[in-house]
């Protein structure tokens, strides 16, 4: 089986956004452009996350799903604001292949069972946002805004019993920082996880991804900043001027490296990690 590179696109109000520790969002442009670009460059999966779906009306993401499904022939998974089978149906019918739930599943775990009975386990993935506490790892919801008191390991065991087909674990403290993954976290959860596991949060360089695959038994990795800043292009659309400002100033100052999908895959392959090229 090949390790998967998943492009994670967080969407807020029609824009691709990226924050640090799930906060301080920066507008990066049209999500459709990025999804198509990543597909052409050989990404294994696209993940759209509507990050304010639980706060606002969530219709806009449907448009992105249908456009992307027409042009992108790899798995498109969608998360954010999915609360019942009607929501799942709507998302799948517009062209998505897989859905992921977080807040709704915590609030009503039975939802996982209901959904997996109808759509099959492999269509239902659970996204867990977690942060280290003095006693272990705690599960958070609403894009890291809300504590739940749930212990990570217990939650993993529970959702698997209910039929979760895949688990994405986001390390909030590492997310957006581009300083590497929470290796201890993914090593620790290994003995609790019996379904495919995706790591998210911290990829800043190819070495980080290599280290993750070499030391942890994860099936895939969700990448955001590392790709978005590499494929960022000047946008002439006036609505996105904030983004141009960023490209013209900050990007130069911080000297963002261009790390292509191909370069990541080639490096992984050279180091004995099985990837699809």
């Amino acid at each position: 089986m090949f390790k998967r590179l998943i492009a994670r696109l967080d969407i807020k109000n029609n824009s691709l956004v990226k924050g640090i520790n799930l906060e301080g969002l920066r507008n990066l442009g049209d999500p459709k452009y990025f999804a198509l670009k990543y597909y052409e460059e050989g990404i294994d999966e696209i993940h759209y996350q509507d990050i304010v779906a639980s706060l606002y009306d969530r219709n806009s993401i449907i448009e992105y799903i249908s456009y992307t499904a027409k042009n992108v022939f790899v798995i498109i998974s969608v998360g954010g604001g999915i609360r019942n089978n009607n929501d799942i149906d709507k998302v799948l019918r517009s062209g998505a292949d897989k859905i992921s739930m977080n807040s709704a599943a915590v609030k009503n775990p039975e939802l996982i069972k209901i959904a997996s009975n109808v759509y099959g386990s492999s269509t239902i993935s659970i996204n867990i946002e977690t942060i280290k506490t003095f006693s272990g790892y705690e599960v958070l919801i609403d894009s890291g805004r809300q504590k739940t008191g749930l212990d990570l390991n217990k939650w993993i065991e529970k959702i698997q019993k209910l039929g979760a087909g895949e688990i994405i674990i986001t390390s909030i403290s590492h997310e957006g920082k581009k300083k590497g993954f929470d290796i201890n976290l993914y090593k620790m959860v290994k003995k609790y996880v019996s379904v495919p596991l995706i790591a998210h949060g911290g990829a800043g360089d190819i070495d980080h991804i290599l280290e993750l695959f070499q030391t942890c038994e994860v099936d895939g990795v969700a990448l955001a900043s590392i790709l978005h800043y590499s494929y960022l292009e000047k946008n002439t659309n006036l609505d996105n001027q904030g983004k141009n400002y960023f490209i013209n100033t900050e990007k130069k100052i911080h000297d963002y490296k261009k790390i292509t999908i191909n370069k990541i895959k080639k490096t992984l392959k050279k180091n004995g990690i099985k990837v699809r090229i």
Partner: protein, 220 residues
């Protein structure tokens, strides 16, 4: 998509009927067809259109007994039996392929279409072998199947499933795949019936080639 009345005028390009059980990732399949110049007609219930379509696709997402019940309720099972009699090409994807067999133990023991004798069972998991299988894998072709024309040994396909088929008649196995030491049937071919455990519409360029091969089969 085409309307039924337009059918006969558009015979030059292949028209494919897609079974719509209302649980599947239909859009991806429709878009992959359209990308390969296959015109699509959605079949939601039993209707007499076998002569008007050049091929049939049954995409599958959903759970076995749930989808089987829908097939029966809408008499789509009868439609499939009738269509297969005329020997036009048909492509059964993922759950679609599993439903061709006798029975499955997903959720509870449920009977399938029983076109091929054989069972659908859960992939045995262990510490290393996580189930469901989700991701990309290669296929080891067993015999030359028309649907795999021009498909290379190194081409990868996207799998997402917890169950696998064990055909009684091993001759129909057209490829096998291996997942953490577990070898299983990843596609079948019998006459003009093709079954794929993986999703060609989600397998990038190699997968689109399979749709192109299917279009050629439809035009024969």
């Amino acid at each position: 998509m085409v309307l039924k009345s337009e059918f006969r005028n558009k015979k030059k390009s292949a028209i494919v009927g897609i079974i719509d059980t209302e649980t599947a990732n239909l859009k991806s399949v429709i878009y992959a067809c359209e990308k390969n110049f296959l015109k699509v007609y959605l079949i939601k219930k039993h209707e007499n259109i076998s002569n008007d379509i050049d091929g049939l696709i049954f995409p599958g997402v959903g759970s076995y007994n749930f989808v089987m019940e829908i097939l029966k309720r809408k008499k789509l099972d009868k439609f499939i039996f009738a269509f297969l009699k005329n020997n036009k090409p048909s492509l059964f994807i993922c759950l679609g392929m599993q439903l061709l067999f006798s029975y499955s133990d997903e959720v509870k023991r449920s009977e399938g279409l029983n076109i091929f004798p054989g069972s659908v069972t859960l992939i045995p998991s262990n510490e290393k072998r996580r189930v469901p299988i989700i991701g990309w894998n290669i296929i080891n072709q067993k015999n030359k199947s028309n649907i795999f024309f021009d498909i290379k040994k190194t081409d990868t396909f996207y799998f997402t499933h917890s169950f696998y088929v064990s055909p009684k008649n091993k001759e129909i196995i057209s490829s096998e795949s291996e997942y953490c030491g577990f070898k299983y049937c990843s596609s079948i071919a019998y006459k003009n019936i093709y079954g794929l455990q993986f999703h060609p519409e989600k397998s990038s360029a190699a997968g689109l080639k399979i749709y192109e091969n299917f279009r050629k089969l439809c035009l024969v």
